[in-house]
């Protein structure tokens, strides 16, 4: 190491002195220190503890999660939002990494593994969110308008050829959805003798983009969709009537020939977290709202491009009465 300690040292000393002088002028930059002190004080007060909120990847869920989370924060809780798919979220109950899944569309398989009845009991049902999930076959609004009879499944075969694409091998194409959802469309198509082939979009993004484009360009499209979903604010899809759902008609996946049941969306929580109790547990238990409420927040997020947190705050401000009811 060939160095010139003298010169380098001198320059370094010079700069150090300048720095010291500068900092003296800045007199410690009060605002950071002040906030630090304030934070320390605040930390002493609240005793709500932590809330680990799973955030599953769809906008409606984000709406629920951030509204509940924001209210919890106002109660003095520290909320950790964790971006996770459903399976991982449920796995996290046992390890304490996840406390709440705020919107569950029904996962019998996971319930079997993690609820007390059959599984390890790390998770439990905290009741409905008040939202009703409606799953079914949908077409873009322009199509429903021009061919109203298409909204009955019995007329679908007349139009099958219009729905054909490069993927459907000569039949009409039915757009299956993101694999996260339970789908019986292949069975329904074959059991109702429909001249359609199910092609899976593979992701929610792909389905949304397909419906958007179909409406915009007046293209023929029929596919699996569901509400509440923010897309309805932009493109109000129309539901096609299938033979109505009856108890048990979906028990054998291969024999399904009826519509999907309406799903009561649920809140799932970690058993140990519920056992600990606290204001956040009560909040999650009490939380309930309507599809319109959720669609409103989802629209803020997806339509207006607001940050989920900001969207939640805006809704809370506008609906203080509903929020107060959850605190009850």
């Amino acid at each position: 190491m060939r160095t010139t300690p003298n010169r380098a040292g001198r320059i370094a000393a010079l700069v150090a002195c300048t720095a010291l002088a500068l900092s003296a002028c800045g007199s410690g930059g009060g605002d950071i220190d002040a906030q630090t002190a304030e934070n320390e004080e605040n930390a002493a007060s609240g005793d709500c503890g932590e809330l680990n909120m799973a955030v599953n990847p769809w906008v409606g869920y984000e709406a629920d999660a951030y509204v509940v989370g924001t209210v919890a924060e106002s109660l003095g809780c520290k909320v950790n939002y964790k971006d996770l798919k459903e399976d991982v979220s449920w796995q996290g109950f046992g390890t304490g990494e996840v406390d709440v899944v705020i919107e569950d569309w029904g996962h019998p398989d996971l319930e079997k593994k993690f609820f007390a009845e059959e599984g390890d009991g790390s998770g439990m049902d905290l009741g409905p969110t008040g939202n009703t999930g409606i799953i079914g076959w949908y077409v873009p609004p322009w199509l429903a308008e021009e061919h109203p009879d298409i909204l009955d499944y019995e007329n679908l075969n007349e139009y099958a050829s219009e729905f054909a694409t490069s993927e459907s091998g000569g039949k009409g194409q039915f757009l299956g959805a993101d694999p996260s959802y339970v789908q019986f469309d292949e069975a329904i198509v074959s059991n109702l003798d429909l001249d359609f082939k199910v092609v899976f979009s593979g992701s929610e993004a792909a389905s949304i983009e397909a419906f958007r484009k179909a409406e915009e360009n007046k293209e023929w499209l029929i596919g699996y969709f569901y509400e509440p979903q923010w897309l309805f604010a932009e493109v109000p899809l129309e539901k096609v009537a299938l033979p109505p759902y009856e108890d048990g008609c979906q028990d054998d996946p291969a024999e399904v020939a009826c519509d999907y049941p309406e799903t009561e969306l649920k809140k799932i929580a970690s058993t140990s977290w519920v056992d600990e109790g606290g204001p956040a547990v009560d909040l999650v238990k009490n939380f309930q709202w309507t599809n319109d409420d959720q669609n409103q927040v989802a629209e803020y997020i997806a339509g207006e491009g607001m940050d989920p947190k900001a969207a939640a705050e805006k809704w809370i401000e506008e609906n203080q009465d509903k929020v107060d009811a959850w605190m009850g």
Binding site: A8, I11, A12, A16, K82, K85, S166, A206, I208
Partner: protein, 678 residues
């Protein structure tokens, strides 16, 4: 990101194919004709297509195995150990985060604010890689802040750094084992193949079970993908240390350890650095996937924009990932070159340099101090540029999509009806034994006996896992995509090789195409092409074409000027020059480009599953999305690995016959930029 083509080798001379007597396409054509004839008679029989929800015993067994592991997790000592490891990772990461990226409670800001972090990073860049790299580093860091992704950007760097640290700890000893013991090499190589081709979605959830949600699971998943380049390339570097030097130093009576640390490792240093660089790129490419399990970083905003179908908002963090990749690539490359020359004491600037470093170091420390003191130097002020840029990018994308949608539709239909459907009919509607037999014969014609052995083993494995029909559908798309990649690579590659200006212009675009996460452009591509197989192919082409183009361009450029002069002296025109001289001589590069293109296309299968391509990619996505289908996903993942190994071995054997050395293909594969979407 820097792909080098092999110099045209002697064997790759134009007259090479006549060695076997017949050009190789003749038997291949004969096989195809025979296949089509039989297909016409037997189509639709024994296609092994599974009905919608049908699952095989193997898939159920895989699912049960996974359930068993979950059930035993509270009692399993392995899980206790891995949970411990996960805890360590999380706490180290948490500490680092509070240091530089998230508020260190009770402070409202991190211990070191943005100015300090940027200054320190730039100083490190200056010290190891020079002024220009320091500026690049500073620009990258500042753009994190300006666009409103400071925390995410720094988190991404932290996760990448942490993963690469572990990669070095685990990978170096394994690279040494690969480099010094042929037996270890034989054992490790197939494991690395599997690690690199197995879709992350298959092991993401089990890994999270063992190591926990968040950064710990993310780091371990990243490790699985980022380890192989260092081990492969490093092992290769150690293996190719001059045997004379080893013999000469052995003759001085050195011990094995002395040989390793004094001779092999120092002499392989350059290659080790290349390996490390590639591992870093691979680690970075896992950013998006990691955010599926709450891994911190720039992947998170990309995904959350994706669920809102907001193209602009996903492009901004996506471009920051590109910028980060370019920064890491260029600085590590520059650093290794510089270290080389610095070790030699080149120039007398040593003193000057130390003075500069000392002074700038002090300046950086002052910045650190200031960033601990002033709020606006600690937390990046909100500029509002990020949303504005997303909006602009969003409308730009809309405009482009609107402009292109009509021709896109025509092109999509042409490829789908003209190429995709016929090929798919042949592959997927043939009885399985006919398709398998034909593939084996083609492997024999292209790659000889060695290729056949791998092919038969892989086909047997594919059959065993029960997704034969889906495999044929996927294979169809892979072949069509590779064909398109090669068509583009030849046209653009030759263009770049003949026009230096075009080359200069296109290279950064190619780098971006290779590093930008596919999730960022899924929506516009879907808007153009709907959820179809073609969309999947298009995404694969975007990803696979850049390395192939670079390989072709470099190969054509490597054609000796004297050869071109000689041909011009006979009065050839440009077309003749390209087809008669440049392409034939660069044939080694073309073969290599095809091999690489194929592997890169394979890496996008799962993305294909997300955009309507169905088949194996969809099976993997389904297994990831629904826990009861995990067995299907795992079987599909293993099948993808087998398909990848099979295609790779056939291509390698074919390339070896073309005189492309294994080394070239290894390095090209490793360097082409190892990014995989899922």
């Amino acid at each position: 990101m820097t792909t080098r083509a092999p110099a045209p080798s002697k064997e790759a001379q134009p007259d090479a194919p006549e060695r076997d007597g017949l050009p190789r396409w003749v038997p291949v054509l004969a096989i195809l004709v025979g296949w089509i004839a039989l297909w016409a008679l037997l189509r639709g029989q024994d296609t092994l297509a599974l009905a919608g929800r049908e699952r095989t015993d193997v898939m159920r067994w895989l699912g049960d195995f996974r359930d068993g592991v979950i059930a035993s997790r509270s009692t399993n000592p392995v899980v206790a150990f891995t949970n411990g490891v996960g805890e360590v990772i999380r706490s180290v990461f948490g500490w680092l985060q509070e240091l530089v990226s998230v508020p260190a409670f009770p402070r409202p800001v991190p211990q070191v604010g943005w100015l300090g972090v940027t200054a320190l990073a730039a100083w490190v860049g200056l010290a190891v890689a020079g002024v220009r790299m320091a500026l690049l580093v500073a620009a990258t860091f500042v753009s994190f802040g300006v666009l409103g992704f400071w925390e995410e950007g720094i988190d991404l760097l932290l996760v990448t750094g942490l993963s690469v640290g572990v990669v070095v700890l685990l990978g170096l000893p394994l690279a040494v084992a690969m480099g010094t013991s042929p037996r270890a090499r034989a054992v490790i190589t197939p494991v690395l193949d599997a690690m690199q081709t197995m879709p992350t979605f298959v092991y993401l959830l089990p890994i999270v079970l063992f190591f926990g949600i968040g950064v710990s699971g993310a780091v371990v998943c990243t490790l699985i993908y980022a380890l192989p380049p260092l081990i492969r390339i490093g092992g290769h570097g150690i293996r190719s240390v001059s045997p004379t030097a080893i013999e000469a130093t052995d003759s001085t009576g050195q011990t094995r350890w002395q040989r390793l640390v004094k001779v092999q490792l120092p002499m392989a240093r350059k290659t080790l650095v290349v390996g490390l660089n590639q591992s870093t790129m691979a680690a970075l490419s896992m950013a998006i996937i990691a955010s599926y399990v709450d891994g911190p970083g720039l992947g998170e905003p990309v995904l959350s924009a994706l669920i809102r179908n907001d193209v602009g908002s996903s492009l901004v963090p996506g471009l920051l990932i590109v910028l980060t990749a370019i920064m890491l690539d260029r600085t590590t490359t520059a650093a290794s070159q510089r270290a080389e020359s610095a070790a030699r004491g080149v120039g007398l600037r040593g003193r000057q340099r130390q003075v500069v470093l000392a002074v700038t170091g002090v300046v950086a420390l002052v910045c650190v101090y200031l960033s601990r003191t002033y709020f606006s130097l600690a937390q990046f002020p909100d500029t509002g540029w990020g949303p504005r840029l997303s909006e602009a990018l969003g409308s730009l994308t809309d405009a482009v999509v609107g402009f292109l949608s009509a021709p896109a539709e025509v092109f999509k239909n042409a490829v789908s009806y003209g190429l995709l459907n016929p090929l798919q009919n042949l592959l997927a509607d043939s009885p399985w034994w006919l398709a398998a037999g034909a593939i084996t014969l083609i492997a024999l014609a292209l790659g000889g006996v060695r290729a056949v052995v791998s092919t038969v083993l892989c086909l047997a494995g594919i059959l065993f896992f029960g997704l034969w029909n889906d495999t044929m559908l996927t294979l169809t798309m892979v072949l069509v995509a590779t064909l398109l990649v090669m068509a583009i690579a030849v046209v653009v590659g030759v263009w770049m090789a003949r026009r230096p200006r075009v080359d200069l212009l296109l290279r950064p675009l190619l780098d971006a195409g290779q590093t930008i996460p596919a999730f960022c452009y899924l929506i516009p591509v879907l808007a153009l092409f709907d959820p179809t197989r073609f969309t999947a192919i298009f995404a694969a082409v975007v990803y696979a074409a850049p390395p192939a183009i670079k390989l072709v361009a470099d190969g054509v450029k490597a054609v000796p000027e004297t050869t071109l002069e000689a041909s011009r002296s006979t009065g050839t025109n440009a077309w003749q020059e390209i087809t008669q001289v440049q392409l034939p001589i660069a044939r080694g590069s073309l073969v290599l480009a095809a091999n690489q293109g194929l592997l890169y296309v394979l890496a996008m299968i799962v993305i294909g599953g997300l955009v309507g391509a169905g088949a194996l990619g969809y099976d993997v996505v389904l297994g990831f999305a629904r826990s009861e289908e995990w067995g299907l996903g795992a079987a599909a993942g293993i099948t993808i690995v087998l398909l990848g190994i099979m295609l790779d071995r056939i291509a390698q054997a074919a390339a070896a016959r073309q005189g492309v050395s294994k080394r070239q293909s290894l390095l090209a594969r490793a360097r082409g930029g190892t990014r995989r979407a899922a």
